[in-house]
Symmetry: C3
């Protein structure tokens, strides 16, 4: 017991994603459809929060990135719902004996304003990840001229061992 | 006691900020005035460290972002000192039973060189956050051509429960 | 004993780096040479993973950044192998009684595809940092048009006290 240090049990993860915006595409963020005259040009639904979050979770276990599992040049994954990607990743997390403990994501998008969608995105992410809403921090920023034609996300997670389970003896 | 896991008490936060640079504007970083021929074009003083740090602290409790509390289109907040923003945010952190345990910030700016201002910025951030200076890590980078007309910051924090207090039972 | 809180022992770090790409330069990532028609234009070998990682480690102890130790305008450091930078930084980490517990890095590069180099980079980083490979998370992203002529890296670390040693009483 004593030799099992606390810090050894904690894991962190970090991921990012970006997509170019185009007319005639839908804008999905955290599994929520956001009304917008432009959306993410992507092979999948281009949900930068779910992509960055999935990569962040994989990074914590050095399991590669979502591009390794769902290559965007494979027609099999065309139009793939990002919720499915996250579910596959969360299963890998659980298989390693862990669960998300907290997630924070910064979304960079010039318009539309995302504030009105915050509650819906937060609720959905909490639901998908099995987290209380107070553990899902969302920050919305404009690009200040640096990326007016893109939507971007950077996400951090920390993960905690599932109680009463023995995984990741690493 | 035993059921109160250590990881459940730890919180992390992440935030970022950027502003376009313009002549005739002052450059403020971490509450410190830095001599520069250009400064941040902003509704407030455009202090990217204090803005990114404030958002990082809010993100840890899913309290929204500083744009929710101090909208930049509200004339009430014109010229707002970012120190005031941080103080409001730190009070929210304390109200949740937490305090900053460590902060690290990367500032991206092509010129002037920020090395000579490092000690002053570090001291001021430590003072504002109630942290020892050794818990305030600052990295300065140039944009390598990616953003020559902007000042940017990305900041990470971790937060620890205030000892002998009971907040955030989440 | 009881007063020595667990969270006080944990440290996090964050760093980033970017270099412009040019023909006739080599591409080094995590100490591994990657075949590419373009490489990082840099004073050193331009290894963005090792630079971002070194800065992340320094940030955890507020020890400045690698630019403070190896200024890129000093001819003494021209052609410097970034592995040497990391070794110097890791010694500082150990001097403070800590060691890396986990590292995650996102590399942004449009081409070549880095997937085939993942295992080699991961192995080398694990070796350099004294970490198991499963504690070295690597994510590879393209810039989606935002930085087609740059290679970038953002890296997070967490650090744990070296058992049976007493450093960093802070
Ligand atoms: Mg994507
Ligand atoms: Mg700002
Ligand atoms: Mg570099």
């Amino acid at each position: 017991m004593a030799e099992k240090s606390t810090t050894a049990q904690l894991l962190i993860g970090y991921g990012e994603d970006s997509h170019r915006l185009g007319q005639g595409h839908e804008l999905w963020l955290g599994g929520v459809h956001v009304e917008s005259d432009r959306g993410a040009i992507a092979h999948s639904d281009g949900d930068v929060i779910l992509h960055a979050l999935s990569d962040a979770l994989l990074s914590a276990f050095a399991l590669g990135d979502i591009g390794s599992y769902f290559p965007d040049n494979d027609p099999k994954w065309k139009g793939l719902e990002s919720r499915v990607i996250l579910e596959v990743v969360l299963q890998k997390v659980r298989d390693n004996g862990y669960r998300p403990g907290q997630l924070v994501a910064v979304v960079m998008l010039d318009r539309p304003k995302l504030g009105p969608s915050r509650a819906a995105i937060q609720q959905n992410l909490a639901l998908l990840c099995g987290l209380p809403e107070k553990r899902v921090g969302l920050t919305f920023k404009t690009s200040e001229g640096l990326a007016p034609d893109h939507v971007q996300c950077r996400a951090m997670v920390y993960l905690e061992p599932i109680p009463d389970r023995q995984g990741d003896k690493g």
